[in-house]
């Protein structure tokens, strides 16, 4: 027990003892590694909750050289590998002996060591560590934070959460968080050992030693005449990672086997409830709610060449654009650049936020388009984040209703192009000098617009004219107030079904083929536009989501016919106003 408290409070001391122990055991000093030890500790008596988390607390309030943990997104995977001295010799004046010390897991100043005077440092005392810039997960919902830190007192949390923001006097660090103006925490994470291939944009959990910002002050840079000025983060805390784990999207919400089977069994009920709940946001329009629900269940299932299968983007058209007086008043601060001024949109996002682990609202106003960056780009070797640099599994609500006529500047055009590319191909371009390269993403999109959106969404669903908009009519107290346990089952429903396996049995597959051939024949004889490959793909994708939403792992003929009917209803809505073509 004491050991576990020790390692939290004074990890360096523990590590030092550990190091001496390993040497005395005859291990090679160069191969000292503490990750195993910490892992064992976590398995046995160290409670994760006892380790302070950077997601919650301001690093300034945490003692330096203490153990912390940080659940974060890797914003930049290459602040350059660092070569450092992992061992050094200390001359003990009293005993006259030389002792080896480990300088792993810290940024120690090695002061006036004898061997430096003689210029002797064996190469094997040097080691390499990778340096990552990490930020707290962008767009992470409040309930996710709570769920991850159950020990934190609820009331306290509501007050402090989301305000983990310390003054950023540091110009380099301000551009590192995808959503400018949103409170977040960030850290430079130094990883030792095997965790060398952590991808940018991945979600990791690090446990390590917090230390002060590594490059203390400008004195170093100013006199540095053999290096070009490189980005440094004088105000960002450094974590020397001892233990690092990659968290896949499927693992963010821990669910038990029982919960999975329960969710699948109750899927129909939950589905109906959820539809009603979502429908509230859309003025009771259940069909729109259904498409949105299917969207929430979609994810990229496989990537093939230029396009990604599985992700499904919805464009809700005929969406009202009035701004309520109330939100117009609030809409002035910088922070709300990423909060839509459209009250109906706010309403929807408040609902989605309660359901989704990660959610970002993206109001497309000319101001946002022209002044912010949607895609990450490297500027003087500092990778600035873009709004779309998000974790896999994030849902983005694009609000096009805010867009007015005006000039789109160069930045705006590039932003539009980036957004287009993510929606269409699920790849985000990272702009580096002289070249750009794409990294794959898995971001869901719901686009709200008045007429058909500028973006190539998979399908367009017009909001029913009869729907009770403005949507505020269904007030916050009524149907929206859903008990926390219901919400929690909603969340689990979405999460479990989103990551469920899926299969199409042979018989159904033949049915689908038959249908496709028939419809084409029919269309040809009536000289209607032929159903294309894209139409079929949309149907198949929807069918998959429909089947999943009913808790089934298999497509049945009923589900497929249900999908076809759903599509028919949607297309019939599109027809009356012939201005909008059916989207492929």
């Amino acid at each position: 027990m004491t050991q576990s408290t020790n390692i939290v409070a004074n990890p360096l001391l523990v590590l030092e003892n550990l190091f001496e122990l390993s040497i005395s055991k005859g291990d090679r000093p160069t191969e000292f590694d503490a990750s195993k030890y910490l892992e064992d500790m976590l398995q046995s008596d160290l409670d994760l909750a006892k380790i302070p988390s950077l997601n919650l607390s301001n690093p300034a309030t945490l003692p330096v050289d203490s153990l912390v943990r940080f659940r974060c997104m890797v914003q930049d995977s290459n602040l350059g590998p660092e070569i450092f001295l992992k061992l050094h010799e200390v001359f003990n004046a009293t005993t006259g002996e030389k002792q080896l010390r480990s300088t792993k897991y810290c940024d120690a100043d090695v002061s006036a060591i004898d061997q430096f005077n003689e210029g002797r440092i064996p190469n094997e005392w040097l080691d390499e560590r990778s340096v990552l810039y990490c930020v707290s997960p962008p767009g992470e919902s409040l309930w996710m934070k709570q769920q991850d830190h159950p020990s934190v007192d609820q009331q306290l949390e509501n007050m402090t959460l989301g305000e983990v923001n310390y003054p950023e006097s540091d110009s380099h660090a301000t551009n590192k968080f995808p959503l400018p103006g949103i409170p977040h925490s960030d850290a430079v994470v130094k990883l030792y050992g095997a965790d060398r291939n952590i991808e940018v944009g991945s979600r990791i959990e690090v446990i390590g030693i917090l230390s002060k910002p590594s490059h203390s002050g400008a004195s170093e840079d100013s006199i540095d005449d053999f290096d070009l000025p490189k980005a440094s983060f004088p105000n960002t805390p450094v974590i020397h990672g001892i233990y690092c784990r990659k968290v896949n999207s499927i693992d963010i919400l821990p669910v038990s086997k029982d919960e999975i089977s329960a969710a699948k069994q109750q899927a129909c009920d939950l589905r109906a409830q959820l539809l009603e709940y979502l429908g509230n946001a859309f003025g009771g329009d259940v069909m729109v709610a259904e498409y949105v629900l299917l969207q929430l269940l979609s994810r990229v299932t496989s990537k093939r060449g230029a396009f990604a299968l599985g992700q499904f983007s919805v464009n809700v058209t005929e969406f009202p654009s009035e701004t309520s007086a109330e939100s117009a008043q609030n809409g002035n601060s910088i922070q709300s650049k990423f909060l839509s001024a459209n009250s109906s949109t706010r309403h929807i996002s408040s609902i989605l936020q309660k359901l989704l682990p990660a959610f970002v609202e993206l109001p497309l106003s000319l101001d946002v388009l022209n002044t912010t960056n949607f895609y990450p780009r490297s500027n003087d070797e500092n990778l600035h984040a873009g709004v779309l640099q998000l974790l896999d599994g994030t849902t983005v609500l694009v609000d096009e209703t805010m867009l007015k006529e005006g000039t789109l500047k160069e930045q705006g055009v590039k932003n539009m192009r980036a957004l287009n590319k993510v929606i269409q191909q699920q790849v985000l371009g990272y702009a580096y000098p002289f070249h750009e390269f794409d990294l794959s993403t898995d971001i869901g999109f719901i686009v709200l617009s008045r007429a058909k959106s500028m973006f190539p969404c998979h399908c367009v669903v017009p909001l029913s004219q009869s729907a009770g908009l403005p949507l505020l009519a269904s007030d916050d107290n009524g149907s929206l107030k859903v008990a926390e346990n219901v919400l929690s089952s909603f969340r689990k429903y979405i999460h479990i079904l989103k990551y469920s396996d899926y299969d199409i049995p042979q018989a159904v597959s033949e049915h689908i083929q038959e249908r496709f051939v028939e419809t084409r024949k029919q269309a040809a004889s009536e000289s209607l536009p032929l159903p294309t490959q894209d139409d079929l793909m949309l149907q198949l994708n929807l069918a998959r989501l429909v089947a999943l939403s009913f808790g089934s792992n298999e497509l049945t003929q009923e589900f497929f016919d249900y999908t076809i009917n759903l599509e028919k209803m949607r297309v019939s809505r599109l027809e009356p106003n012939s201005t909008t073509e059916p989207q492929k």
């Binding site: 450092f84 430096f116 002797r120």
Partner: protein
Amino acid sequence: MSNPPSTPQRSHGDGSFTTPTSRRHSNFLSSQPDYPSSPLAYPSSTGDTPRTPFRTPGRRSDIGGSSFHIDDAASSPLQYPSTPMRGDIGSPRTPRTPFSYVRTPGNLGAGHSTPGVSTGGQHAAYPSSTGNLDSQVSDPSISVRLIWGTTININEAMGSFREFLTNFTLQQRKALVNEEIRDEDNLPFYPRLLNQMRTTETFNMNLDCRNLLAYRRTKKLYDQLIKYPQEIIPLMDHTLTNYFLEQFDVDLNGQQLKVRPFNLDHSVNMRDLDPQNVDQLITVKGLLIRASPIIPDMKEAFFRCLICDYTTMVGVDRGRIIEPTKCPRAQCQSENSMSLIHNRCVFADKQVCRLQETPDSIPDGQTPQTVSICLYDDLVDVAKPGDRLEITGIFRGVPVRVNPRQRTIKALFRTYLDVVHIKRSDQKRLAIDRSIINNGNAVVSYDEGDEIHVVNTSEEDEIKQLSQKPDLYDILSRSLAPSIYELDDVKKGILLQLFGGTNKTFTKSGSPRYRGDINVLLVGDPGTSKSQLLQYVHKIAPRGIYTSGKGSSAVGLTAYITRDPDTKQLVLESGALVLSDGGVCCIDEFDKMSDATRSVLHEVMEQQTVSVAKAGIITTLNARTSICACANPIGSRWNKHLSVPANLDLPPPLLSRFDLLYLLLDKVDEDADRRLAQHLVALYMDDNVVTGGVNILPVEKLTKYISYARNKCNPVLGEDAARRLIDCYVELRKQGEDRSSSEKRITATTRQLESMIRMSEAHARMRLSPTVEVSDVNEASRLLREAIKDYATDPKTGRIDMDLILSGTGSHERHIKDDRVRELKTLLLAYESSSIGWTKLMNDFNEQSDVPVEAKAFEEAVETLQTQNVVKVTGDGRKRMVRRLINSDESEF
């Protein structure tokens, strides 16, 4: 160095390449009096064993006085005042680089962990060199001298290098790799190179390390060069200089020749640089992204006493120059009187750059890494940001000091590369290497290919293995756009486009360059995945550029001139076509392009250049690009009853420039539909299905294969293949002949023949075969015929007719026209009077004909007759009169 130093010991001290280190040590030592001044006290550090002699001031001044070729020059190379650059390599004189460290001799770890080893005693623990060092001090003439901590035997190293210089012939290297050996390759290579260097007064010799490896006696030297570049390079410099001076009687004016090694047998990935590489010679590839301005690096400061005008030089010491506080002249001794005279100080050029990983070597999901590189002297400004470089240099790690004035350091090391050689892998700018060494035969020629992918040997084997597979063609075409179903021939056509034919120039006949690039046009109904195919091509093609016809302007495609906002200079900016030089330019919505834009493509597609004459800049840029375009038919859906030109809003001259034109029609075909549906369902069948078919190459591998083939393989037409080509062409032409009538349709033109040649070459290239064989020609002709069958079929007759594409009208139509004219002429001759009214003639003509003749067709016919001088038309509008100029008996002409 050209200034005769007034105080020799100062001036000299820093010039010699290892002195800074040693002097630093001596300074440290002097503060520690209990250190013995024997050489044994300095066991460590970069490579300065022989530094011992000149640590004694007397000795040093001695050397300062002596210039180059002195008595013991051969045996003590390190005493040479080398140029600043070497100084920098030998030991960093940059600030905060005061420490060098030992390169882990085997027993070092043990030495350290042995408790109680005092400093003095510890040095004795390195017995390997002790004896030598001793002997060196006591008797400098003893030949066996090793550099401490290394295996370098100075004399042996210098001897073998000298022998290499004297004896090496290119033939030795070329024999190993089976290259063609020319007569002059049997002559010793380096004397000729040096001769050339003398005439051109370039004093850097690029040393191709492959030569070192090929020469038997220098294999060891090569290993040492890799491991201990800081020691070996100065030795080489020294040997080279000596050798040069022996050969030619020139005054080098204090300069020393420098060796610039390159072409190491393997290059290190930037990501894989680790502490083990520190202080080794390595080659990395990368993209230069930033360059600092040129930094004048002060090497020696010149001070003058304000009182007595006494001058003195002060060298750099540990990155700093210490200003003398007192006039050194014994008579003056005034304090604080020394002032720096700027224009008499000695500076060297220096530049700091950042090199970033090339996009292709970045692992999936990672951001690129960068490394700092330091360039010195004539390497400065050789490369510009944006260049792809292959840099050979010494990887260095220096501890970071907390404060430059303190000895406390951080446990953090700063790494950078001291560059010794730059090679540009960029195709367009090869100038540097040639200008640095020289041009002519003696120069190592660089592969001109734009190195897009590095293929290492294991990959090469893999590629060769793949090329041997019998179903290679199918595998590759399947791997291209696996998500797109069927369209096998289209995919094959595109595949051949990616490989491309061979570009030819016939220097003898002085004819221009013949393009080897294959252009492909896809036309078809919406929803037939044309754009997706383009996206794939864009992804796979080396240097693929993707544009959309609607959004492109002529200048955007070719080149435009802008004024730089900062400098107000005119700048030529290249457009998509120029940028895709050597690659594939994908143009979507080709038909939506404006006419002006399209017209620039005429030049690009046949001549493969873009000419700009604008705003005072007249130039021709290369645009050796294949074009892969797709277009929608007029009215968005293909009309089966119309011909290609009528269906497409594209001018025939442009159409004919496409080698292959594919129609992707959305036909209702039960079987095909079913297969498509099956394919799509399979995609969704199971989460994470890996393939859309078996045996598919991943995109990266396909790209690698293609770029390998493009770089390495330039197939030549074989005898049989040539004959077969002729046969195929004649056969194709013959199809136009018709037994029944004398009319001739054109089924193929020389353009088709050229296409066929290109495609056969591409097919051979795909097989990595050096010659084009009959099978290649067969496949090319099959593909071409398939494509022609699709697009050049006259819908009215159902027969292939190239005239459709070439002129826009098919031969059938042309025949009808001819008939019409003939009939009209007969009719005219039948009239009594020689002038007939227009309307009457037309009515009569119509009466005679079975099918109604349109007014326009009639007019056309009359006009034809007019040009044939058969009739003359007078008057206007309806009152026109047609006057016959010939009589019936003259009609047969």
